[in-house]
């Protein structure tokens, strides 16, 4: 059991009292020794010993009488002006520095009911910044009509999450924020919700770059924009949201578009141009498909993030711009940096906060909420409310969540599909016929490569090329199934778990992912290459 230690000033007003009458007065320091539910093993009392010798003796004696087990230690503390912030803070800071806190053995409580208001403020600051690893302890006088004078104590823990009512408010606010980040889509996927919570926390506390990974159409751009709006609401960012897809920045124009140029920097540079980085000053720059950026631009971008300064093309006067960077990619940047196509120092800088946005297929439970979201959006844009017939809705959802529906373009595909159906619907009703037509259309669009009827046929020839011919049928059958499972799995580990489930259960295999990786390597394949 840890010892409890109370630290506080001797109250030169409140603790004052002499003669028997003092027992009829509420004295905060003495009452620390009289509580039923709190007792201190030690009280460290900050006292100006020269001026308050008599009072100190009375208080110490009375504490000994009421609570003999409590040790009282006097710390001679001189305050030239107890109402002067600087003076009190320095004195308490020095006290805290010289005090050897032993938090393994002792719990500390700062008694804030004695001392000036300035002293209270200083105690609070020291406790809040953890210079003093203590909770705050408040003693309060008894109600007037009560006959005893012991009053009560309460512990104030500055960890606000410990208070139910406050925590409730926090969680309501956090939920509202998460809703915002999700554009109000009522996501059912627990993993996705967890990621949104994390993004929210990071967005609120940090201005470090973030990297959003995920297939095209997974909603990276929308999410980046939502993060920006959120930070803007919280007054964290004042500038603009600037979005650019790096795939569109090819060749010479790329550097100029990003970093700007001065007049005469190159042929045709007739005027100064402010680059996108400068436009995002004080705001947010979203660089989608950052893997497509050229190596030169990568180097300049890194410098711009680190120094918040960069020279425009052809100029020697550096431009300043302080922006929050969010990068998006659908490529595996770690692989690209291994291959030298992406600078590893820039990757390291971006990789601090990396979030993987799953594609629609991995969030099958979110298809329905997104369906409603898209219908709402359609209604907003076209001023026309469109609804599914009950049967049509369930038929579409059955197809949309089946293994057959690949959704290669993810939410973009889903949005487009719903827009088509809404447009083709008669008098605001999407009927079974409209759904059936749409399903046929989607099957045709996704048709090549995988048979629509199964959606999971594996063409080894396509994966292995000529080598497929040399495979024994025995191996081909096995590999086909392995590839099929890989394609249905999100990660190598997940595929490993499914494939080696039986030996897992008898705990024979410890690393399924490794086993699977080695198996694939025998055919010159990797999980990524299979295109899962």
């Amino acid at each position: 059991m840890k010892r409890k230690v109370a630290i506080g000033f001797l109250g030169t007003q409140l603790d004052m009292g002499s003669g028997p009458g003092r027992w009829e007065k509420w004295r905060p320091t003495v009452c620390l020794g009289q509580q039923e539910e709190f007792s201190a093993d030690r009280i460290d009392l900050l006292v100006d010993s020269r001026r308050f010798k008599g009072l100190t003796r009375t208080v110490v004696d009375d504490l000994r009488q009421t609570s003999p087990a409590t040790q009282v230690v006097i710390h001679d503390t001189y305050l030239a002006d107890p109402w002067d912030f600087e003076c009190v803070y320095s004195a308490l800071f020095d006290f805290a520095r010289s005090y050897s806190f032993d938090t393994e053995q002792e719990d500390y409580f700062i008694h804030i009911s004695t001392g000036t208001h300035v002293a209270q403020i200083c105690w609070f600051l020291l406790a809040e910044s953890r210079f003093v690893p203590a909770k705050l302890l408040q003693t309060s006088p008894p109600p007037k009509q009560r006959r005893d004078t012991t009053g009560s104590v309460s512990v104030i823990d500055l960890d606000l999450a410990r208070y139910d009512q406050i925590a409730q408010r926090f969680s309501n606010a956090a939920q509202a924020t998460a809703e915002f980040l999700k554009s109000g889509i009522n996501t059912q996927s627990a993993a996705f919700n967890r990621m949104i919570e994390q993004i929210e926390r990071v967005a609120m506390r940090s201005r470090a770059p973030m990297l959003l990974m995920g297939p095209t159409g997974a909603g990276k751009s929308q999410l980046a924009r939502n993060i920006f709006e959120l930070k803007k609401q919280r007054q964290d960012l004042k500038g603009r949201f600037v979005e650019v897809n790096c795939a569109t920045l090819r060749g010479d124009g790329a550097g100029s578009a990003l970093f700007g140029h001065v007049r005469g920097a190159f042929t045709g540079a007739q005027n100064d141009r402010v680059g996108l980085l400068k436009s995002a000053d004080g705001g947010m720059l979203f660089l989608d498909e950052i893997g497509e950026l050229g190596l030169d631009e990568q180097a300049m971008l890194l410098r711009a993030i680190e120094d918040k300064r960069f020279p425009p093309l052809g100029g020697d006067r550096e431009t300043q711009s302080d922006f929050q960077l969010i990068a998006g990619t659908n490529r595996d940047l770690s692989e690209a940096s291994r291959d030298g196509r992406f600078r590893d120092d820039l990757f390291a800088r971006l990789n601090l906060w990396t979030f993987h946005l799953p594609g629609l297929k991995e969030r099958a439970e979110d298809i329905e909420p997104n369906l409603d979201f898209e219908l709402d959006r359609h209604a907003r844009i076209n001023h026309e409310r469109v609804r599914f017939n009950l049967e049509a809705r369930s038929r579409f959802l059955r197809f949309a969540t089946s293994a057959e529906a690949l959704w290669p373009g993810n939410f973009r595909d889903l949005g487009a599909s719903i827009t088509r159906m809404a447009t083709l619907s008669d008098s605001g009703r999407i009927t079974v016929d409209v759904v059936d037509e749409e399903i046929a259309r989607l099957r045709r669009a996704w048709g090549d490569g995988s048979r629509p009827s199964m959606g999971n046929e594996v063409d080894l020839a396509k994966l292995l090329g000529a080598e497929a011919e040399t495979l024994d049928r025995f191996d081909a059958v096995q590999l086909t199934e392995v590839v099929r499972v890989c394609r249905q799995s999100r990660t190598l580990s997940e595929a490993g778990r499914i494939l080696f489930q039986a030996s897992r259960e008898i705990k024979r295999s410890s690393n399924d992912a490794d086993r699977l990786r080695k198996y694939l390597a025998r055919f010159g394949l990797s999980f990524e290459r299979i295109g899962a």
Binding site: W23, E24, E37, T66, S67, R147, T149
Partner: protein, 349 residues
Amino acid sequence: MEQELIELDGSIGEGGGQILRSALSLSVITGRPFRLRRIRANRAKPGLMRQHLTCVQAAAQISAADVTGAELQSSELRFVPKTLVAGAHHFAIGTAGSTMLVVQTLLPMLLAAPGESRITVEGGTHNMMAPSSCFLNRVFLPQLRRIGADVELVVEREGLFPAGGGRIVLKVRPSKLKPVELSERGALRGIGAEALLAAVPEHVGLREITAVADHFRLRREQVRHRDLGHQTGPGNVLSVWAEFEHVCELVTVHGERRVAAEQVAERACTELDTYLSSAAVAGEYLADQMLLPLWLSGEGGYRCGEPSSHTLTNLDTLGRFGGPSIECRKLAEGVHEIATTRPEVSSRA
């Protein structure tokens, strides 16, 4: 040898603290460990309070017990006694604890100890929430001596709430207890009153005892007042008692600011009158406190008024530690008998 833990629920009945004190006494006497859960669960301030903790610590010291959960506001306590250590012990508990509750907890176990004990306790002797040293000396200890207990309580200094500063010495010799027989009060020997004053004007005490004397038509020498000095003041306690041939009852009223001395006296008189006009032999608090001696002696019984919920909870706790079976029976309106059940009675039941 590892004994089976007796599981107790501290939320039942009214006596969270009472269950604890009885369990501590019984556990040390029987050597059986216990776990008390949900300590005072339904109270505004649940868990162990300081007055309970001081009892736990004292009992642990005397029995060299292994204790877990012995801290303020703890809701669960595990107590495993080892050996009873008789001899001299000293406890300084201050005023948030109560010396009398500690005495009440230790006394039964010391009667069963292997040797003579001398316990010094420093703290408060008169506290609104606990029996006073006057009560123990005039009511409870004489009953113990009647059944053969060799006990003495010396109040060296009274300590009033909130200043405290009192000091008592409890001397106990191991004693084999005789059956408890308390079925009638016997003849009234006298009524008395004492007012204690600490840093309170003397006239307060004089007015109190005068009012009591008037009420019961007492002679001057039957009432008295005593000044305790300034150390433990300010405070005022009035005790009024009625002594019978076989039993005594004492009521204690604490004086308060803005309450006239006469009113304090009236409260005490009214309370004592209630006892006098009842058919109870043991008063409410005595009835409660005699349970453990009855259990220890193993035989006998006593009559009392309507048992308090404290007493009933206490009775349940006793049963959990084995020993004689004790019952509370209603004899007539306002008269109950708490007694061990005779073997033939229990076999019929």
